[in-house]
Amino acid sequence: MTMPFGWVTPLSGIVFGILFGYVLQRGGLGNGCRLTAQLRLKDWTVFNVMFTAIIVAAAGLYVLQFAGFVQWSDLYVPTTYLWATLLGGAFVGAGMGVGGYCPGTSVVGAAAGRLDGIVFFAGLVLGVVLFAGLFTGLEPLLNAAPGPQAQTLGDLLHIPNGLVLVLLIAVASIVGWLSRRVKTSNSISCAD
């Protein structure tokens, strides 16, 4: 059995998209008030959902690799361009602080009837146009300080990826334990 299966069709996009949107909505991540509350450290849903998901997916891939079903080199591993990756993350973080969402969660929020989610999504399109207008001037910055192609944290730290996984589980467990009193409230208000 060779994985990945190479099922990259419109139907595959719709199927995995439906699952993605369903889970984010049921996890309460289409709520801009909850997302910004994470940034004020009043709600820990975003961090706990993201890190649990990363660990479950990474552990699954790691076990399947160990069993010989999948190879890391067949998976898409993005390459770091230190300044662009860090600065882009900073802009997306600022965008969430100001506008309440990130690109994916704005779709989820909009689908539940939030007009601010629709407007945020329209802003994303304008942001891309702005980027395209400035592209030539930005190019040196975008390509600056490239890391090795498809580098993993294990490559960076010269430790096995299994140990990286253990460290991530430790960090997620500590944060999960520290934030245990801050329960994910079922109907968070923007004033919380």
Partner: protein, 170 residues
């Protein structure tokens, strides 16, 4: 209004991790989002100003040779995302037309903030070539350095902005 409770963060995270794992095993890559506003920008720009779009270093290659940026996997995925979120919101009794944002602000102010936030986010996701889903979550799942560098920039700046604007939300 009665609504079904949302999942606990660890249950939602576990479910999201399984969806992400299945996506990697089927396609070889993870889940994303910001590629779709990018595709919409390329298609719209090409329809409004074809010559300027073709000459643009970023949008030009996406529309070159009559290729349709809207018929790409990420666009189908985001359409699915909208459908899945709509089904979940309807099923859990959380479908309601509203404008959310800082409680003290009027509707117009909230929408202006959403637009400005969207512009920052759309611009930023092109600088880093990925957003919280495509780079943070999916990059994190393959233990990519890039995913964690992105998440550091994202959370540090987000928290700084969150604290700087916290009075607005009281």
């Amino acid at each position: 209004m009665t609504s079904r409770p949302i999942w606990s963060a660890h249950v939602a995270g576990f479910a999201l991790g399984l969806v992400l794992l299945a996506t990697f095993l089927a396609t070889g890559h993870g889940l994303g989002a910001s590629g779709t506003p990018t595709a919409i920008a390329a298609a719209a720009s090409s329809a409004i100003a074809p010559a300027a779009t073709a000459g643009n270093g970023y949008l030009g290659p996406m529309t070159a040779g009559g290729s349709d940026p809207l018929n790409t996997w990420i666009v189908w995925e985001v359409i699915g995302m909208g459908i899945g979120a709509l089904l979940a919101a309807w099923w859990s009794g959380r479908m309601r037309l509203r404008v959310e944002g800082p409680p003290q602000m009027k509707t117009t102010g909230r929408l202006v903030l959403a637009l400005v936030g969207g512009i920052l986010s759309g611009f930023g996701a092109r600088v880093s070539a990925g957003c919280t889903s495509g780079l943070g979550l999916s990059g994190g799942a393959v233990l990519a350095t890039a995913g964690f560098v992105f998440l550091i920039g994202f959370f540090v700046t987000g928290i700084l902005v969150g604290f700087a604007t916290r009075r607005l939300w009281q």
